[in-house]
Amino acid sequence: MEHIVIIGNGIAGVTAARHIRKNSDKRITIISGESDYFFARTALMYVYMGHMKFEHTQPYENWFWKKNRIELKTAWVEKISGADKTVSFTSGESMSFDKLILATGSLPNDFGWPGQHLDGVQGLYHKQDLEKLEQNAPDHKVCKRAVIVGGGLIGIEMAEMLHSRQIPVTFLVREDSFWNGVLPAGESALVNEEIMANGIDLRLNTNLEEIIEDGNGRCKAIKIKETGELIACDVVGLTAGVSPNVSFLKESGIELGRGVKVNRLLETSVKDIYAIGDCAEQREAIGRRRPIESVWYTGRMMGEALAQTICKKPTPYNPGHWFNSAKFMDIEYQTYGWVSGKDKPDFEEQFHWRHAKEMICVTIAYHKDTDEFLGINTFGIRMRHEIFDRWLTEGRKVDEVMTYLKDANFDPEFYKPYEKAIVKHYNQQRGKQIQPVKKSWKRIFA
């Protein structure tokens, strides 16, 4: 029986395993050193915040793996050999495979800051990071202030987490507005406001110079590069992005870039070895997507596609229209298609509407010349994925999107609708006379 070995029990590896099992009878082993069972990394924050217990982050009950004949191996991989088809563990053991799937995910970026290895300095990525944070910052008496370095999604999550335990937080962001490489200016400004409204000390245009030791190997303060200001703190969160976790592959003979180089079939340069999820790097970017995508659903999709390939149905990884979502403190964010941040391409024009009082806004991107709808970002309004996926495929014009905007709303029942205000603003801005049409089930399920 063919033995499929998967390194990494995150969403990519586990999805591949599940789908290989659905489509075949192969022997499957998943290796992880981080945790015995698959858990949702995205939910670690909710454990710290007391919304859940760790067991709730596990999407499958513990009996699931045995029942589906997916073997689990708790170990750290030291190196792999494509020639011998073996995986060696740090424990000295080894395991042979017929096909190997690398799904090792990411590691937090490390910019070589002085003091970054001190106690109390940590990222937030692994299960162990959660345990560390529980020790470093159990409450606002032990941790009188925390400093977070890096204005991305993990940074703002960590700020929210610490804030939930009334720990004062200083948030250092390199850019002049939060995440403005991704978010258009109006949205980025809205998130800045949300962060500050929660009492978080947001420092824009601010870099970390060094982390200062207390004499016992712990951090006691940080120094800001621009001003030289010292900020006393008990915890430093380093959240300046993530990179593929591939250093253990350096001598494996597998071609690496920043991640593991793969083609559209997710094959690496070595036969019978594949890579999926955060650790995979596409040789050529797909559409406007980045070659390395550290997104939950792309890990899933790669797992689904690769499982087909491994089960004798070669299936290229072919992600459709870009979409994503996140939550910034209490504001939900969704995006469908492409809406650019600071570095907007020339052809892209944007329409932006923001609610007068609430933290709600919408940005719609369209083609300057053709009026083709390119994408939408919403803050505080939920949208229907299926509808935008279809509209993008059909190449709808932005006017049509405005006309049928009500079909796309996904807010809970009885919520206040905003389409009227949005379209009114759109009409004013572009000198149009569009009337939003009533929601129709027929169109939604067309």
Partner: protein, 530 residues
């Protein structure tokens, strides 16, 4: 704000402390006149019983905790033995020990509590309400900005099965045990609400009135908590208002007012309570009473049948069973208000789901079979059907399902097993509605394409123990018979993945092999859609 909340807790605890100490306090002494009247009122013909009981209790002081029902039981046993031997069947005593003991206490209480009913109401209910509100209302400020307010739920003793939760559990279970089986100890509580009962029905309060009043009070106070916690979620605000309205008006006020208008039956009639949750609707005594009483009785009979056979399933077709379970039902109402802090304890394991399906459908079968027996017995005027005494089936159901399951376990176990224990494992109406919802309804929870990140908030906070995430992460809509449509999964989802909606039946159930947006084979996929 914190100070106000702490004072609130202290005031609540004082009120609550006085309330739970009442069964242990008070003085009772029955005089001869009241005793004679009571014997006549209870229709007791046994001189032996009357003489013995009179000797045992009349003009004797007995304090709060001393059990009366055991005295009544001893006297009854002795009298009945003699009457059986003498074949004096008409003299046998059938009154329940506890019921008689309760009546005796109610007649004979004296001293501070029954003489200061309004003051005592304020010291118990009044302080309880005041203290709770002082704790809850400042949360408008302390909970901070708009959003989901679940911080610390698993850090707190009260909501993480800590010692506070266990104390609440012990209180709730004891309260239900007293209510159902030792109601003589609830007599002091009835004094507190006598003035309210008088003003509504014109009668003194029974322990069931205490229960009804307390139910409404607890629901109202905890509804305020719902309003504060979910103040930015209009679905939750409307739903809470709806259950509160139906509980107070339909379950509590209308039956009391009907008594005042002398339109009452042995069963206080709650127009929204549908068979088989209303399990004794088809019991022969109820049918006889309804048929014999003409106009209104017949209306109630027809309404009751229509409700179960037509109105409830048709509404479930259009809106899902949520219209009943989390917008109208009294049991649901308590679960959604008092029980909300405990919703995360509903087990989501596959094992629980298996137990659930056997139990809840078992109870439905039990209820239907029992009703079959009672109806057959009613029409044929037989007491024994297929060799089984009809009354014994009814008693078994009333005891195990009506009292133990729905009351003691259903509510008592909130802090440990979650707030929908009864609705999920026991309610026969929920099982019936579940069939309609699963097989013929427009209701579903739509999963928003591939946006799910498997975080598990939905599953954790599902009070029915549905593993919502298992569906959402596959891009599948959630169509489950047990879903009561509380809407919390949608509220707590950080990525806007879930939406409760009523739409066309076509495509309601959508098993998906491949996530939306994973265009692994675009042509094939498009062809499949057409």
């Amino acid at each position: 704000m914190k100070a106000i909340q702490h004072i609130g807790i202290a005031i609540f605890l004082v009120g609550f402390g006085i309330f739970i100490s009442l069964p242990f306090l008070g003085n009772f002494k029955l005089d001869q006149k009241s005793f004679d009247e009571l014997m006549v009122y209870q229709g007791i013909n046994s001189e032996i019983f009357i003489n013995d009981l009179q000797a045992a209790i009349v003009d004797k002081d007995f304090s709060g905790i001393m059990p009366l029902s055991s005295i009544v039981a001893t006297v009854t046993e002795k009298a009945n033995a003699i009457h059986t031997e003498n074949r004096e069947w008409n003299k046998k005593v059938y009154a329940s020990d506890d019921g008689l003991a309760t009546s005796i206490r109610k007649e004979s209480g004296y001293g501070f509590i029954p003489e200061n009913k309004v003051l005592m109401w304020f010291l118990t209910f009044g302080l309880g309400i005041l203290g709770s509100l002082m704790f809850i209302i400042p949360q408008v400020v302390t909970l901070g900005r708009k959003g989901i307010k679940n911080n610390g739920i698993y850090h707190q003793s009260s909501t993480n099965k800590g010692w506070i939760a266990w104390l609440v559990f012990i209180f709730l279970v004891s309260f239900y045990l007293v209510l159902y089986f030792q109601s003589e100890y609830a007599v002091n509580w009835t004094y507190l609400v006598d003035p309210i009962s008088k003003s509504l029905s014109g009668n003194l309060a029974s322990h069931w009135f205490v229960y009804g009043f307390m139910y409404c009070t607890v629901m109202s106070v905890m509804a305020v908590r719902m309003y504060v916690k979910y103040r930015n979620n209009k679905y939750q605000v409307l739903r809470t208002t709806s259950v509160l309205f139906f509980q107070i008006v339909f379950a509590f006020l209308i039956p009391e007012v009907m008594v005042r208008l002398q339109l009452s039956y042995s069963k206080g009639y709650d127009f929204k309570n549908a068979f088989p949750l209303d399990y004794d609707f088809f019991f022969s005594w109820n049918l006889t009473e309804l048929i014999d009483s003409g106009g209104l009785g017949l209306f109630i009979l027809i309404w009751g049948i229509l409700l179960t056979v037509v109105i409830v399933p048709v509404m479930v077709y259009f809106f899902g069973k949520r219209w009943y379970c989390s917008w109208v039902c009294g049991c649901g109402g308590l679960a959604e208000t008092l029980g909300d802090p405990y919703r995360q304890h509903s087990s989501t394991s596959l094992f629980s789901w298996k137990v659930e399906r056997w139990l809840v459908h078992g109870v439905l079968v039990f209820a239907v079979v029992m009703t079959g027996f009672t109806l057959y017995g009613f029409f044929t005027e037989a007491n024994v059907v297929l060799g089984i005494e009809v009354q014994s089936i009814m008693n078994t159901y009333s005891f195990f399902i009506g009292a133990i399951f729905a009351g003691v376990i259903g509510t008592g176990f909130y802090p440990i097993f979650g707030n929908r224990v009864w609705c999920r494992f026991g309610c026969p109406l929920a099982a019936y509605l579940g069939f309609v919802q699963r097989f013929k309804s427009r209701f579903r929870i739509t999963t928003n394409g591939a946006q799910c990140i498997s975080c598990g908030n939905c599953t954790t906070y599902c009070e029915m123990g549905i593993d919502v995430r298992a569906y959402a992460q596959k891009g599948e809509n959630i169509v489950r018979s047990s879903c009561v449509g509380c809407g919390i999964c949608s509220a707590v989802c950080p990525r806007g993945v879930l939406k409760l909606e009523n739409g066309p039946e076509d495509g309601r159930i959508n098993p998906t092999e491949i996530l939306l947006g994973n265009d692994v084979d675009l042509i094939e996929l498009l062809n499949k859609r057409r």
